[in-house]
Symmetry: C2
Subunit: 301 residues, 2 copies
């Protein structure tokens, strides 16, 4: 293991491969209006941490699967994440002009095209999942389970439900339980999906999938509390967006309910319980997933 790349190298490598794959995700022989392709590509290529694809790849590799088998599903989850950001930014929702330091999709392409580019990205995510099987022999049963889980975790009872709860929360109905529902679904469910989809590609057992669900749930919640904290304390330059936006939009956050110290403590203890669950799963090589958990807890943007 002496020539094992550092975590930073691993991160750069996977991010570059995912970004390369995303660039060519729309089949070039398809006859699609150029404005639609441009709008889809614009947001897909707008940067971001590529956290969810990283989790798909790291989970698959923790079982010894080839990275190429995981890349189409890694792209799928990034498409779903990207579509959700495009729709979240719309005037009818958060009405944001900037995202990651760039104009939001509807500011560049107009509202109608932005809505449709989001719709097309969500739809194309399912296409991309099927390609995993075509390209590298992931079984049809595993792929169907991945389709089923994405449709649950990104849909009404998952990410979209979390977004609706978040909107309603802005109208002043939030308590801590409600905030936890929002965090678990709006952010957490897609993180859980990424992990179990990668694990399915790697051939995980039911017990291992269950452990990864717990890992993802705790990691996702820690991630989102850390986001709440960074929104209050982070560096605007590093974050690529205005900090204190939650305060300005009167959004309630973990620090608002339990204070800053307890929030910091909660991130630590959730990260630890995530790692404990991962330890119990007995994966062939959980080391990258462990590193990701530590990395997320200590990030400053």
């Amino acid at each position: 293991m002496s020539n094992r790349p550092s975590f930073e190298t691993y991160l750069e490598e996977v991010t570059a491969e995912v970004t390369g794959e995303l660039k060519q995700t729309l089949p070039v022989h398809w006859d699609v209006p150029q404005s639609l392709v441009d709008a889809m590509q614009y947001s897909l290529m707008a940067g971001g941490k590529r956290l969810r694809p990283l989790l798909v790849v790291a989970a698959a590799e923790a079982f010894g699967a080839q990275r190429t088998a995981a890349l189409p599903v890694a792209c799928a989850v990034e498409m779903v994440h990207t579509y959700s950001l495009i729709h979240d930014d719309l005037p009818a929702m958060d009405n944001d002009d900037y995202r990651r330091g760039k104009l939001t999709n509807h500011k560049v392409f107009g509202e109608a095209t932005a809505i449709l580019a989001g719709d097309a990205l969500l739809t194309h995510a399912f296409y991309s999942i099927v390609q995993s099987g075509r390209r590298s022999g992931v079984s049809a049963d595993a792929l169907l389970s991945i389709v089923e889980e994405l449709s649950e975790l990104a849909g009404a009872r998952g990410m979209v439900g979390g977004q609706v709860a978040d909107m309603e929360g802005e109208q002043g109905m939030t308590d801590l339980a409600q905030l936890q529902y929002i965090h678990l679904h709006k952010t957490g469910d897609l993180i859980v999906f990424s992990l179990i989809a990668g694990a399915r590609i790697g051939g995980a057992t039911e017990g291992q999938l269950e452990a990864l669900r717990v890992f993802g749930r705790d990691l996702g919640l820690a991630f989102q509390i850390q986001d709440d904290i960074l929104d209050l304390t982070g560096d605007e330059q590093k974050m690529g967006k205005k900090t204190q936006s939650d305060v300005n939009q009167q959004k309630v956050t973990y620090p608002y309910f339990i204070g800053m110290d307890a929030s910091l403590q909660e991130v630590k203890s959730l990260t630890q319980s995530a790692k404990d669950a991962l330890g119990r799963a007995e994966l062939p090589d959980p080391s990258r997933l462990m590193e990701i958990a530590d990395y997320l807890m200590s990030r400053d943007h």
Copy 2:
């Protein structure tokens, strides 16, 4: 065959079964914000012809498949159709206040919830497809092909691409080829999907799938030209919407380009070529699909 139900009875029966299935499509044990469920159900239950589900069922039954095996996919395509209507009606798109004589989704639930209800319906369609397999043993390979085809035909190179082209057409760039692209994709592709998905459930051969693609393409185009015609000549009461809206919105239509007589002729000849393709497919019992083709051509709303 003396006790074979009439086409009208068949139509009523299938429509009732599909509507019953749609009512319970969201699993009741799921923890989903009530406003989101209400918004999804509102548009799903707003009526409509249920044409696409009918095509799924009729295609599956043409191969001798059980109707129950086809119902989840029939619901899936209606969810996709419904989401597309919700998004089309938004202020940023067609800005319609009424649809089928009822207030549009965003007029009742607000724009943000309408966008998210559309997103959730699209996502849930894929969940529903997987349930076909769980419920009645459709093979994982067939279901994956159905997922792949829906993601193609409802996405960037299909329905969404058609919608983008339609929007751009309103800005005055349309010629007949462009209008045909719009009709083929915005309306036609989901009709093609319905037929081949039903056929896959019924165990169609590749040759039969290809024939059904041609049937669906011609039928879908005939259907949309008939819509153009009815918009100019139809009865507002029967249509459940204002007629001449295309004229008022300065949308170009088939009659605009080739005249009313030639448009009526085109509907007839496309319907005939659709039926010819169907005849060549040698299905065990194509009679309901033939009846549907005749019914669509002669409808007055």
